[in-house]
């Protein structure tokens, strides 16, 4: 193939034959569709990040004692907590109730499970490619902090991660003791939706225990 030497040379539309027009039109349609797809993909990611800014404001208002507030007037959910992983420097505002709408804006606390820090196992889920993209970096022994809407901060220590099906995940919400399970989709780098979930189990560090451990570490 010879190198193209035609940069800038005019190509009159009238000189395209029928076959060429067809190719050009198809290319244009495919290109446009591609652009839309890419745009939609980035829109989802941008929405997820931008929403967190508004949510942080709303959560701060809630902590200040203004009661459960809606981050924006047409939102159909309230903020429930702030989750953070101090070692790797990530945090996010957790919403109450897990459905397609809440998960698009932030991690969601499953409302059928106990509150983080209460007796049983609390479950927080988020998308693997947005809010919980850092979940794979949490190592056993890492601290996970959950600041609840009532102002109390619960400190959990992460255990081992594991992989299981969405409906057979072995999470016992009525378990003895105070636990937290963080869940996201697995495999992390897959682009397809699948039945598998990555679950990180963590257990509460009791306040007095935390105080005892702090000077040591």
């Amino acid at each position: 193939m010879s190198m193209p030497q035609t940069e800038g040379r005019p190509m009159l539309p009238g000189r395209l034959d029928r076959f060429e027009t067809l190719i050009a039109a198809t290319a244009a349609v495919i290109g446009l569709c591609g652009l839309l797809f890419v745009g939609h993909g980035f829109y989802i990611k941008a929405k997820a990040q931008l929403a967190q800014v508004l949510l942080a404001r709303s959560f701060a208002a809630e902590l200040a004692g203004e009661g459960p507030s809606r981050p924006w007037p047409w939102a159909d959910f309230t903020t429930a907590a702030r989750i953070s992983a101090p070692r790797i420097g990530h945090s996010a505002i957790v919403l109450a109730g897990a459905n397609g709408e809440t998960l698009a804006f932030g991690p969601a606390w499953l409302a059928t499970t106990p509150q983080p820090g209460d007796e049983g196992t609390a479950v927080i889920a988020a998308h693997r490619d947005t809010h919980f993209s850092w979940l794979k970096d949490v190592r056993p022994g890492d601290r996970i902090e959950v600041e609840r809407a009532d102002g109390r901060t619960m400190s959990f220590v992460a255990g081992q991660g594991r992989v299981s099906r969405w409906d057979e995940n072995g999470i016992d919400i009525a378990a003895h003791g105070k636990h937290l399970a963080l869940a996201t989709c697995w495999p992390f780098d897959s682009t397809e939706r699948g039945p598998l979930r990555y679950i990180l189990d963590a257990r509460l560090v009791e306040p007095e225990q935390a105080a005892a451990e702090l000077p040591a570490s």
Partner: protein, 779 residues
Amino acid sequence: MFTNNENAARRIRAQRSSSALWIAMTALLATFAATGSLLTTTQLARAETATTATVELSGLVRPNDMNSGALLFPSKELGYFVEAPRLKTDVQIDVSGPIARVKVTQRFQNPSKGWVEGTYVFPLPDDSAVDELRMQIGDRFIEGQIKPREEARQIYEDAKAEGKKAALLEQQRPNIFTNQVANIGPGETIVVQIEYQQAVHQSGGEFSLRFPMVVAPRYNPAPIVQSVEFNGGTGFAVTNDPVENRDKIEPPVLDPENNAKINPVSLTVNLKAGFPLGEVKSPFHDVTLTEPDAQTRLIALKASAVPADRDFELTWKAAAGKTPTAGLFRETVAGRDYLMAFVTPPATQQDNAAPAKREVVFVIDNSGSMSGPSIEQARASLALAISNLKAGDRFNVIRFDDTMTDFFQGLVPASADNRERAIAYVRGLTADGGTEMLPALQAALRNQGPVAQGALRQVVFLTDGAIGNEGQLFGEIDGNRGDARVFTVGIGSAPNTHFMTKAAEFGRGTFTHIGSEDQVATRMGELFGKLEHPAMTDIAATFDQAKAENITPNPMPDLYAGEPVVLTAELPQANSAGKLLITGRTGDQPWRVEMSIDQAAAGKGIAKLWARRKIDDLEASGYRVNDPQAIDRQIETVAMTHHLVSRVTSLVAVDVTATRPKNEPLTDTDVPLNLPEGWDFEKVYGEQKPILPSPSGDRDASLPAGTLQQVAMETAEMMAAAPTAKTASLLAKRSVGVNLPQTATPADRHILIGLMMMLIALAAIFWLRLRRASLFRRG
């Protein structure tokens, strides 16, 4: 030369265009293939989850589907259980007037060679509670005791940690009894005996009771993950089923005939109606019936046929002309009188009265949480309700998310025109935005003008109840309801039933749950029946002279055709005298009944029935009190006094005796000789004489040889038994839990597809330019 040249150019051009065609075609095909494969994989994943839920086969069960008493062991399939072989079930029902006391004794076996932690499941009728629990696990006897929840939990955990046999019953859902049983050893026999009581159901002069016997649906979950092995690069492969020997896991399907032989049931009813009996029948099962006297019947199940697809039901009527329209019973417990009264309102009055005019305010939730099938069901239900209105009725429609619209700005006549406009409006609603329920509720209760003379004001609320300010809403309903009745319709698979049931109670209406599209017609039909024919409203009970500390239910619900008023009360001292006065209203007509307390007949179990209802009332009053712990304490006091399981009290079973030497094996024919006092397990051990002679002969003669052994083997095969008691509890834990939501956005996939498509487009355009450039040069 020239022509040669031209020919060559043409040839090259032709070659190029054909090769270009090839490239373009391949690129297009690749795009389609890529998108196609992405689509099919998602569809496959979806199909996989769908089949998991629907495949119905004998073998595996889920606790929530259980329709009869059973002991469940965890199975090898996560989330599913196996029923322990039921060696024998004995049911003894004592009906004394308006109360039935049921004692169920079941004997099971652990057919495996390992340790298991089982779950005993028993579906309870409404308004009943288990108050006695006795168990035998292997050679240990344990007995349930009512303790405050935390204390019970501690006792159970301690006992379990010490390796003792233990069982804990906590209230999860009000009407299902589930009980964890720890430390069941290999081959051990388990006997469970529970006692509960229920009020006899009355409707239209017929009395009835039900005992659950339906066999639960069986599941055979779809493969979990299929692995594909490509060998030799041929492109063909075999998928591997991760569950080995799936064909062996599928047990023989139990038809009812066989089930009766494998799960033998003996059932006796000692019916003391308290009035001369007329017809007594069991519509679905063959029974033998004896008549000791006019007011008493003994009923026993015939051994030959026990269809497993129907609940046992017994109905009875009074002898002609003797149908009681009122009854008053008394039980004295610990120096206090407990009363139970029932009155059937006269039915004649409502027949000649024209159906009351109705004023209906429909409130529909179209917030974001309703999006998807929920809003479709809500729209369909509401359209049906509007089209069902009569010409003389008046109505209005209010919709709300974080804003609200009062469609007609007040009540309008239900003319054909108005109904059509409202239906068109409802059909056009989409679900979006937040849930601000209070303004809509206020508009429905306060802003609709006064109730017309003799009309019924009804507020029908369609929502999923995804709200946080329950207390405020209860307060609004309780305080501003006026004469209106509030009916709630729960939409979707998991509405907030607690909120909606309570809201309906405060609103003196009913709660209807619509879980799927095909339930819309039947469930709404039932609701229309109630909306159109209330038999009696504004019911209240007072005691003349005697002090009524506590009357339940409070407030009294409206009655619908044929139902009696049933109330229970606690009086501060024994042998009280005085009069009980019940008032109400049918249509425009007031109605009152007086009864003398000192003429009450003795009845058993009334105190427990009162306590159960009192706890329900206390739970409902929770929103009004700022101190929820005070409510908890009150509930605890009532529950402990009357030995009932509640939200704050649990039944913990502790080891009471070690009656059997460790080395002595327990075999099937063994009757434990030294049972603790008051225990009667004989009926499920060995062959005892039936209480009533059964003419059909010995059931065991027709039992195919080895069937029981076969079932035991199949069960053992499916069970996930553990080598030690400790691992057994870990296995059991695995089986309960929550479903996790989908947590992958399509963002990455969309970006990938988009980039691929743009790349193809760019390649095509680039090629086009190349081709034109060469044409220019050559031509």
